[in-house]
């Protein structure tokens, strides 16, 4: 099984990097994260300049002292992590839309399912390769934050927490996109659904005024955003890990179900 999975994963990787879309997505994501991280850093530098200027004591015990709340963690990392999460939501459906839908449109899915591969193996390989691509995206965007983490003395553990959260969140979003792709032969439909479902799942605050408090509490627990914030602050909570793993698992199961249905038809 491992050999079959490995062979299928290699084929998927080749297919992914043979098309320009992977490079475009990498480019867009790295550029967006770089620009936004830069913006936060520049704003932070300006804030430091204001506090360090002679005319402002800012509550310190000597002139030019910067309050400890004004630091790179609060001013750069936490807002950047929120931005990065939204950017993942924007770029990932562009990658996931083709993974299953293209096979279905070309009719190669039947070939896959009749050459001895089980549906769950096909889904596992495709999901695995997409998660690997998410990892690549994050590595590309991690250079800037890593430099700042090391220079600011935040500790590499903090970076690990931040990117663990991003990876889990990215895998969950990608998994939803893959599930959408597996149910259709149209890449456009897969992309629209791949945007729609995570976007709706992002935060149910818009529904909280129209449903009862108990339902709103459940919806809050289901929302993506309520599970994402603590990673940027350097804390990995088991319940959030379980949530993202659950979403990713659900997406994988939906892909398997879709392949099983296709085979049954």
């Amino acid at each position: 099984m491992i050999r079959r999975l490995w062979a299928l994963s290699r084929k998927e990787l080749r297919q992914l990097f043979a098309s320009p879309i992977a490079y475009v997505v990498l480019t867009v994501y790295v550029a967006l994260t770089g620009i936004y991280f830069f913006q936060h850093l520049v704003s932070y530098n300006q804030l430091l300049f204001v506090y360090q200027s002679e005319g402002l004591t800012a509550g310190g015990f000597d002139q030019g002292t910067v309050p400890s709340q004004i630091n790179v963690l609060n001013e750069v990392f936490v807002p950047s992590a929120d931005d990065f999460g939204l950017f993942l939501l924007v770029v990932l459906p562009l990658v996931t839309m083709r993974v299953f839908a293209e096979e279905r449109a070309n009719g190669t899915d039947e070939l896959l399912l009749t050459c001895g591969l089980r549906p769950y193996e096909v889904a596992l390989a495709k999901h695995g390769v997409t998660y690997f691509f998410v990892l690549l995206l994050l590595l590309g965007s991690a250079i800037y934050p890593a430099v700042v983490v090391l220079r600011a003395g935040l500790g590499l553990e903090h970076l690990v927490a931040l990117y663990s959260g991003q990876l889990l969140y990215g895998c969950a979003v990608a998994s939803l996109g893959l599930a959408c792709s597996s149910f259709t032969s149209s890449q456009i439909v897969a992309a629209v659904l791949g945007y729609a479902i995570p976007f709706v799942l992002l935060d149910f605050a818009w529904l909280s005024n129209t449903v009862s408090e108990s339902v709103a509490a459940v919806l809050r627990e289901v929302a993506l955003l309520s599970h994402y914030g603590s990673f940027a602050r350097g804390v990995i909570e088991l319940r959030h890990v379980v949530y993202f793993a659950g979403i990713a698992g659900l997406g994988w199961l939906a892909s398997v179900a879709s392949l099983e249905l296709a085979r049954a038809r």
């Binding site: 830069f38 250079i143 220079r151 600011a152 818009w206 603590s230 949530y243 199961l253 179900a257």
Partner: protein, 516 residues
């Protein structure tokens, strides 16, 4: 017919998007609502219309597959939602912040355990999710809920807070309000120190009464200036203590309810009757904190304290390890970093948690008044320190090196004494703490380094209030200036232009190869 579900999805997206774009103005608008309803309707109609495609599953085996996988998906979805909702109560977390910002300190845990052992009405931490700092504080409040059995956390959005808390929640600047029964106390900046202080205030059965002598040029607790001492009074009140003035010339005795008496750097002599009052107070087991300072002359230093075994030379401690934190980084501004590790007054102070002592006076030890008395120096200037008799020259920055023959090395600047007195059971014990500096407690310096900890540790030890040893905000702050603007721009060029450019070129190459 596949147009219908696609249109439905687009309308739902517009509904959610318009909500996010305008929620600060008017929440969920009619436009968003109409789009949501119509979108859901179109989606439902589209799905029903598409259902006829399922006619392809004609055989019994096919239908079984459809049923099995549909049931599996619904079951898995229910399982994920169920586990997620149930996991709200899971408290396992790994705090990877460098200073463990979201892990409660030993002091807080010890206080929580004491409160749990004592029983009684629990303390509620009411947390306001819509407050400005809610995102920053949520994890910390959750840590109290997890680790403090005597503390309940309550999300104001989920459970109605007590009326007193609702009354205090006047602005979104308030994030946490601590309540016990009907009594509520807002927490200022919601740090662990402030939340624990609020818990401490509410849990006290009676306040610790701290009397400050006045009338001899002592420190001014009312002064808000940089060199005033209003911060001392505010800090004590923040801890649930009650600072009061004692006009000693007019008082025949120290009040009965005095837990601690503070003589804050007197510049003039006490009357003989006043010294007699102090002697009587100490002899019956009184608790005294004396702040001394270089260049001051009072019979408290020359008569009272020597009788209890403390020696205060009329000199100033200078140290080459002067503090760079003050503009005038002269040897007169000491960084004190050597401490007796097990003494309650210097507990938690170490080489990493230092004190800033400008113009300190040496505090030495003489003969013990009685054999059972215990005297100890608990904080020292560095081995490179020395004593100077010429304060004016030292203050002017004229003495940068120890002169030949000067006393050098590990000069004590804080000392404590325990004096068992009387025959009661348990026997009364007088306690004295002498701190050879008053400036460390000035408004501008009390929050510098760990100065506040020393003051609170001393008062708490004297007031038998050791359960509430000083708790300082986590001392670590990230390097506030990690990259210069030039470095920021250099990295920006690489990451926002050079790297994306390379990736894009690779993409063009992949596209070209695909076409070829």
């Amino acid at each position: 017919m596949s147009f219908l579900p696609a249109a439905g999805v687009v309308m739902i997206l517009v509904a959610v998007g318009s909500y996010y774009a305008t929620r600060s103005l008017h929440g969920f608008s009619a436009f968003s609502g109409a789009n949501l309803l119509l979108g859901a309707l179109l989606l439902a109609v589209g799905v029903v219309a598409q259902a006829r495609r399922f006619r392809g599953f004609s055989g019994a085996e096919s239908r079984r597959v459809v049923l099995r996988w549909s049931a599996s998906l619904v079951g898995a979805l229910a399982l994920v939602v169920g586990v997620d909702v149930a996991a709200r109560g899971w408290t396992s977390r790994i705090d990877l912040t460098l200073d463990h910002s979201y892990t409660l300190s030993e002091q807080t845990i010890a206080l929580c355990q004491k409160l749990a052992q004592r029983g009684g009405e629990p303390i509620q931490l009411v947390f306001f999710e819509d407050a400005l700092l809610a995102k920053d504080v949520r994890l910390l409040v959750a840590a109290y809920g997890d680790r403090c059995p005597a503390v309940e956390t309550r999300d104001a959005r989920r459970r109605e807070p007590p009326q007193a808390a609702r009354d205090l929640y006047t602005t979104t600047a308030t994030t946490v309000i601590a309540c016990r029964g009907d009594v509520c106390d807002p927490v200022g900046y919601p740090s662990e120190r402030n939340i624990t202080s609020a818990i401490l205030r509410l849990s006290r059965e009676r306040p610790v009464h701290v009397y400050f002598t006045v009338g001899h040029g002592e420190i001014d607790l009312a002064s808000e200036s940089d060199t005033g001492y209003a911060a001392v009074a505010a800090t004590l009140r923040d801890q649930g203590m009650d600072p009061k003035a004692l006009v000693s010339p007019a008082a025949p005795d120290v009040p009965e309810d005095a837990d601690v008496l503070v003589i804050g750097a007197p510049e003039r002599d006490f009357l003989p009757e006043e010294l007699a009052v102090l002697e009587r107070y100490l002899s019956r087991g009184g608790r005294l904190l004396v702040l001394a300072d270089a260049g001051q002359h009072s019979n408290v230093y020359s008569e009272l304290l020597p009788r209890w075994g403390f020696v205060l030379d009329d000199s100033v401690v200078l140290d080459q390890a002067a503090s760079p934190l003050l503009k005038e980084a002269t040897p007169v501004n000491l960084l004190v970093h050597l401490f007796a590790p097990y003494d309650p007054v210097t507990r938690n102070l170490s080489q990493r948690t230092m004190l800033l002592f400008p113009r300190a006076r040496p505090v030495g030890l003489g003969r013990k008044p009685q054999p059972d008395d215990k005297l100890a120096q608990v904080a020292f200037a560095s081995p490179r320190s020395w004593l100077s008799q010429n304060l004016a020259r030292a203050l002017a920055g004229g003495e940068l090196q120890p002169p030949a023959g000067a006393q050098t090395g590990n000069i004590g600047v804080v000392a404590t004494g325990r004096f068992p007195r009387g025959t009661g059971e348990p026997p009364a014990e007088a306690r004295i703490v002498v701190i050879g500096d008053r400036d460390f407690a000035q408004n501008r310096l009390l929050e510098a380094l760990y100065n506040r900890d020393l003051l609170l540790n001393a008062v708490r030890w004297l007031g038998n209030d050791e359960q509430a040893i000083a708790l300082t905000d986590k001392g670590w702050t990230p390097n506030q200036d990690p990259l210069t603007l030039q470095q920021t721009v250099a990295y920006f060029y690489f990451l926002a232009f050079a790297l994306p450019e390379t990736l894009l070129l690779l993409g063009i190459y992949a596209w070209w190869r695909q076409r070829a």
